[in-house]
Symmetry: C2
Subunit: 357 residues, 2 copies
Amino acid sequence: MRIFFATSKRRITVVLTAYLALQKKRLRQVNWFAADAFDRLVPFITGGKMLRGGLVLFGFGMSGKKSTPDAVRLAAGVELIHSALVIHDDIMDQDKLRRGQPTISAQYARLAKTKKLALTQHTGESLALCAGDLGFFIATKLLTEVKFSNRTRGVISLVGDIISEVCVAQMQDVWWGSAPPRAVAGLGPSVYEILSMYKYKTGRYTFSLPLIMGATAGGAAAITLRQLEKLGEYLGIMFQIKDDEIGIFGNEKITGKPVGSDIKENKKTIWQVLLWKQAGPSERRKLKNIFGSERILKKDIGYVRRLIKTRGVSSQVTKYMDSYARRARQLIENMKIAPAYEKILLELIDYNLNREA
Amino acid sequence: MRIFFATSKRRITVVLTAYLALQKKRLRQVNWFAADAFDRLVPFITGGKMLRGGLVLFGFGMSGKKSTPDAVRLAAGVELIHSALVIHDDIMDQDKLRRGQPTISAQYARLAKTKKLALTQHTGESLALCAGDLGFFIATKLLTEVKFSNRTRGVISLVGDIISEVCVAQMQDVWWGSAPPRAVAGLGPSVYEILSMYKYKTGRYTFSLPLIMGATAGGAAAITLRQLEKLGEYLGIMFQIKDDEIGIFGNEKITGKPVGSDIKENKKTIWQVLLWKQAGPSERRKLKNIFGSERILKKDIGYVRRLIKTRGVSSQVTKYMDSYARRARQLIENMKIAPAYEKILLELIDYNLNREA
């Protein structure tokens, strides 16, 4: 699996870098900001794991065909959209660190400060908003320039379908992040609501979409597409549960994100919801002061971590994870698929169970 | 001209309303926010003048063909993208009023306040950011579903081209808005830089793009496309100069936007730049306190308006406008075009010279 995704990333990076250089050349005629934006976007876009792009190539490869330049272009388009969404996400979460580097909004806020502009934070966010939009439109252009058959046309319509789901799931996430942690009984989300949000915010987007895009471009049968859609949801929900675990337990040096930012942002995760359910009255009072607090101390994070373990939340979450892993394995067994590809799908399950970043 | 654009708006509205209803039905399965977002988006999107959508139909009609459902879909897609850009624009400008109604960010901030969430302003902006992104992706979907020939494929690639120009021109606009008004000699933009920003932020996007999209779909010759591109730039620069005039002199009841917001936001317009050039030292001191000030009084706006007139700025701007109008008229005369369409293009020039909203 690691070799497949590393190879994919290299190939996508080559296409992306060349395409972004072309776009920079075109847009630098407009003004200085264009060239500057690309200088920020290139390391940001190519600095990720390129999981989604890799999955496009995986879905395409399943058909037995050798990867084509158009397949890599599809993968590059998906990575571009993903980075643009991440840039907007960092504005909403007011995050300063991503992939071990300052977020695009933090970079622009710094630039505004250096140049002594008014409203540096807001200016930084506004410029990052534009940079994200820029990402969407150069992605649209790239995707549209993939050689069009009726098949690939359906692929891009699917991008519209699934990313619009992400947008409304993200609204839910933002809303819950501003709400107190089950401060009033019944106000907070249920585990069911959380898992549904994971499905739309992450599952269908991170796994189903790229798998189906690649498989469609490769000419897969309708039944395979339906199986990949479902499989993607399972893998994606696991991926998000793990992501939220890393948000609480992760090591900043490995993750490239600040420790405890999800706690600070009062993100509604399966961990928070279950913890709240298990906590006693005095613990709840303490948690209420920690989640969403501007200033989080190391000992607060330690308290949350300990409580998650001692209150049995970890073992509850493990049960959910195991259940999704079981369903995903069953689905993979039922698919008609070459052994090399089956092996990678099974490894993806293990990756989602065990990754640290 | 008014009849043409009113008819176009009706036809685009029918297609847009039906399409948005379909998307609402699909996305309301994700969560409550989807349905709620569409209830806000529909009046917002259909509440504009639909100038851009009308120009798509105009460009298509120039070919002599009767308008087709696909041409209206192209127009609807352009209007969707425009509304999404406007939603993001209102976040950046922190505007509260648009088209006579609360902006989407103001609507969400109000919702967050009603529901007693934390950080209502930021939550409102974040939700509006998502709503704008949602607009982009349902627009992508709509445009992709227009019956594809190699021609229309080129049309959507062009959308990517021109809207990415808008994004970087918008960055420039944001940046200048945070900078003091020529506080240090030579720091502010020149008239040339302003006109270049107008070209990319407005001209090519509001006029060239829709005209070329429609004309391409209608099968126009390459020379016509080049003429429309140039004509669109002239018309668009005039449109933006007028827009900025309305921002200073406009009547809130007619424009649907708060009076003086451009002055408050310290927008760098041709009016501001020329005014600064013409102002004496004591006037500059006074202007420095007015432009970009959070609290603008009626008398401040009155002062700026008077100075613009007494210092000869109005007549200078009129010269620029007349020069663009002359060039646009020449271009139109050189085009091979049916008299009914020529008449509308000439009326568009007058519209840009005289409109009040």
